[in-house]
């Protein structure tokens, strides 16, 4: 579980995150949604430890990651899997080598055990046929799946995904969402997904945190989001899609 308490972050004189408090639970898809520039990516990077917040706490299984030394942060990072917006596969390595990389660096597995783990992870994401391919030979969706395989190779406790559906068609997006949902539930991972894709929100949003101008404006679930009337900004965000516009409550 990740608990965020009173998090603030600014760059130069620009205050990006204002007193953020929220909870991300294990075995659930915890979605952070919001318009572009609302602070989603900065919050995600704070959670991962790529940005140091100005104040506040981030408790990952009761460990405050804002207070960790470099060495402790390295140890924490070994419990973390990250799916980047552009996949971030190492382009000088094959898909199998990408998945094996964290195992080579940080596990004491034998070559055979590593190969087995790589095969298992690639099978799990339906990518066993791409074992020896290089990232530039794969489609966007396949790159995302290979990146998920790499992210789960070390059995992470936390999985962070930055816009996992960006650049994918709706069908591929649903497949990626389904895959993330399956992995989260199967391995009881605390998954935090940064997105502005309403299909993902309504499909896999076990908990949803809506950010607006760097503040938490609404917290709920996929079943509650369409019914909520407290936040006009969230309503504008949800019903911006022409398909959903007809469902907008008339009272607002």
């Amino acid at each position: 579980m990740i608990v965020v308490k009173g998090l603030n972050k600014s760059f130069d004189n620009q205050h990006v995150l204002h007193d953020i408090s929220c909870t991300f639970r294990p075995g659930m898809n915890n979605l952070i949604i919001g318009q572009s520039g609302s602070g989603k990516t900065v919050l995600l990077k704070c959670l991962i430890g790529l940005h140091t917040p100005d104040s506040g706490q981030i408790l990952a299984n009761d460990l405050d990651i804002t207070q960790l030394s470099d060495k402790q942060m390295k140890t924490f990072h070994r419990q973390v899997g990250v799916l980047f917006q552009g996949s971030a596969l190492f382009d000088s390595m094959t898909v199998a080598e990408n998945v094996a990389f964290p195992l080579v660096m940080f596990s004491n597995k034998t070559v055979r055990e590593r190969e087995e783990r790589v095969r298992f992870c690639l099978d799990r994401v339906g990518m066993s046929q791409a074992h020896d391919k290089f990232p530039n030979e794969l489609s966007g969706g396949m790159q995302k799946r290979a990146a998920i395989a790499r992210a789960i190779a070390m059995n992470p406790k936390f999985l962070f995904c930055d816009e996992p559906n960006s650049g994918l068609d709706p069908q591929r997006s649903i497949l990626i969402d389904q895959l993330l949902d399956d992995i989260t539930k199967e391995y009881n991972i605390t998954t935090v997904i940064n997105t502005h894709d309403m299909n993902s929100v309504l499909g896999i949003g076990d908990t949803i945190t809506f950010l607006s101008k760097g503040r938490v404006e609404w917290v709920g679930t996929k079943n509650e989001i369409l019914k909520q009337k407290e936040s006009p900004t969230l309503q504008d965000f949800i019903y911006a899609s022409p398909i959903l516009q007809s469902f907008r409550p008339k009272t607002v």
Binding site: H77, F84, F90, F101, V104, M105
Partner: protein, 248 residues
């Protein structure tokens, strides 16, 4: 303001080098990366180094021969002077300037592209010291490889000079070879190799710094590659003076 920026950049460079020169997480992987970098940065540069050295030697020989009017000068002076110029200056500094362009831009753009495509962030999040993993093998490969390229350059430069002397018929090859061997001091070769070692470090570390600190997109990667070539070239020339003063 510009001076403050330069001091700040130098501070960032020193901090980055502090992260680079740490113990690799996996020595076997480091050794493998170093061999790969040696192949791509050094072995792949042998062709261009040989070609340019051949021409530099030839031009040196033509220039010296065209200025040798005095009948009091012994004929072997041509070989002797060509050798001295190549060993003391051209084979280290000129080759370093060429590699600053070829290898430096390659390193800066490779690491810069990894930065903008979040591959470096991915390494950091896995708990890998990305600076050490990516940059140290390049520095070790080039520091080890530059002296070898320097030796190649000296030999090819001397061969270029000999070919010109032979082709133009201005000097029998035996006199040229005698000139090459005259008053030879092995210490001058060591001097040249020490400069090569240092230039290898300068080229790889400065180019890596520019690539590693890229922010933005493809345009910034291109700019970083260009900046790295310019700054490395200036540093090579500046350190040429300093090293000459220290080592002579």
């Amino acid at each position: 303001m510009i001076i403050a920026d330069q001091i700040s950049s130098f501070g960032s460079y020193v901090k980055l080098m502090g992260r680079v020169f740490t113990r690799p997480d996996r020595f076997k992987l480091f050794a493998k990366s170093t061999v790969r970098e040696y192949n791509s940065l050094v072995i792949d540069s042998i062709g261009i180094v040989c070609l340019i050295s051949l021409f530099i030697g030839a031009v040196c020989c033509i220039q010296i021969q065209s200025k040798m009017f005095s009948p009091l000068l012994p004929r072997y002076t041509l070989g002797f002077t060509t050798r001295e110029i190549l060993i003391l200056e051209f084979s280290s500094s000129i080759i370093a300037l060429i590699l600053a362009g070829k290898v430096g831009s390659n390193i800066a753009s490779e690491i810069g592209t990894m930065r903008i495509t979040e591959q470096i962030d991915a390494l950091d999040i896995m708990g890998v010291n990305s600076a050490n993993y990516l940059i140290l093998p390049k520095i070790v490969a080039l520091v080890l490889g530059m002296p070898m390229l320097g030796i190649f350059s000296i030999f090819l430069g001397l061969i270029g000079g000999g070919l010109i002397a032979q082709l133009f018929g201005t000097l029998p090859i035996s006199d040229y070879i005698y000139g090459i061997q005259s008053f030879f001091e092995p210490s001058s070769v060591w001097y040249s190799l020490k400069k090569c070692l240092f230039y290898g470090f300068l080229i790889s570390s400065i180019a890596s710094y520019f690539g590693y600190t890229v922010k933005g997109g493809a345009t910034q990667v291109g700019k970083a590659a260009t900046d790295s070539v310019v700054i490395t070239s200036v540093m090579v020339l500046l350190w040429d003076i300093i090293l000459t003063k220290i080592l002579i």
